[in-house]
Symmetry: C2
Subunit: 206 residues, 2 copies
């Protein structure tokens, strides 16, 4: 068991997800420039960005587990991140309403030993998300809250957008930005039982 | 639009679900005795209990929307509420691990006019929940946290149990205990646009 658990993401939703699951990570944000990265398809993009973020943070720590994640909404094979402005958010929702997309989140966990040697696990999870048939008025009201502008895919499932997702297929946490069951499996692959993380990195343990 | 929005449930998870969706309800807990209610199948039980809870609260208010909910885990047609003790929680998890059940939540919304006349909508939503193949050690550690004893079905998806649910089919919020997309539809049936609730009952509006 390492002495530090580091979340390499500025996302409050990812931090809240870990906290609700009883884990209190340190947050270290990488300076990765996302716009310089491209990939043939959305899953590849999410995977590449998750690795870049985790590796940028892992370079500066030792005796630590580092978690990097990146999420995109896959609509018909095209990756959508945060909308640029109000117009794009409204236009996206007019396309999305009444249909579905796949939220793809890349996860990279790097086990950095005290001597700096590393073991890395990378996985991508996809969760199908079905969007409610919002009225034009609901779209305008939702975009006016500002929330869609701050998030990949222009929606949340755990915030104001909750009532606008009629259902999902897969892990809910993956939609929020960090799949807890996948993370449990990745830690198992690294030889760490998830429930042992509670004792070492649980809230109030540090 | 009524002047009050009342959640007839003591569940902190239901309150948190509404709050994250931007709605701040009043909480009024009914004194319904659940053990006195029976039904032929889990969905019928969830429906009957949701109605009882909402009607008990609605009897004491006017000019209000009242929301009542009840959740059970349907495993092969049998309804499971909160486990009685540690032994039952461990035994349930040994049955549940690696397979799936359906979390059924009954929802009752009563629109109580200023003169006390009522309009009532009742719906049940089911979400399939797939449980991870926990080791015996993980089950013991999870039950030792006490969380499984406090919740219907002996698991949470939004708490410590998050990593132990590998995926769902349907609305996530329904598993937590209150389906936001279903509630949006029920309010639409009552002639109320969900986004209008933000202005009247949003956080900081009262």
């Amino acid at each position: 068991m390492r002495s530090r658990l580091v979340l390499g993401s500025a996302s409050p939703a990812r931090l809240a997800t870990l906290r609700r699951a009883g884990i209190e990570p340190e947050v270290v944000v990488s300076g990765v420039e996302e716009s310089g990265v491209s990939a043939d398809e959305p899953a590849g993009l999410a995977r590449a960005l998750a690795r870049l973020k985790a590796e940028a943070v892992a370079a500066d720590v030792a005796d630590a587990y580092v978690i990097g994640c990146d999420s995109v909404l896959d609509l018909d094979g095209t990756a959508h991140g945060k909308p640029r402005d109000v117009e794009e958010a409204v236009s996206r929702w007019r396309t999305m309403r009444g249909r579905s997309g796949v939220l793809r989140t890349g996860h990279c966990v790097i086990d950095v030993a005290a001597d700096g040697s590393r073991q890395e696990v990378v996985e991508v999870a996809g969760t199908r998300v079905r969007f409610a048939a919002l009225t034009d008025e609901e779209i305008e009201a939702y975009v006016a809250t500002g929330e869609p502008l701050a998030v990949a895919g222009a929606f949340t499932v755990d915030g104001l957008g909750g009532p606008f997702v009629t259902g999902i297929e897969g892990d809910h946490h993956n939609v929020v930005g960090l799949s807890l069951p996948l993370l449990r499996e990745m830690f198992t692959d690294l030889g760490v039982a998830w429930t042992d993380l509670w004792a070492r990195f649980g809230r109030g343990q540090r």
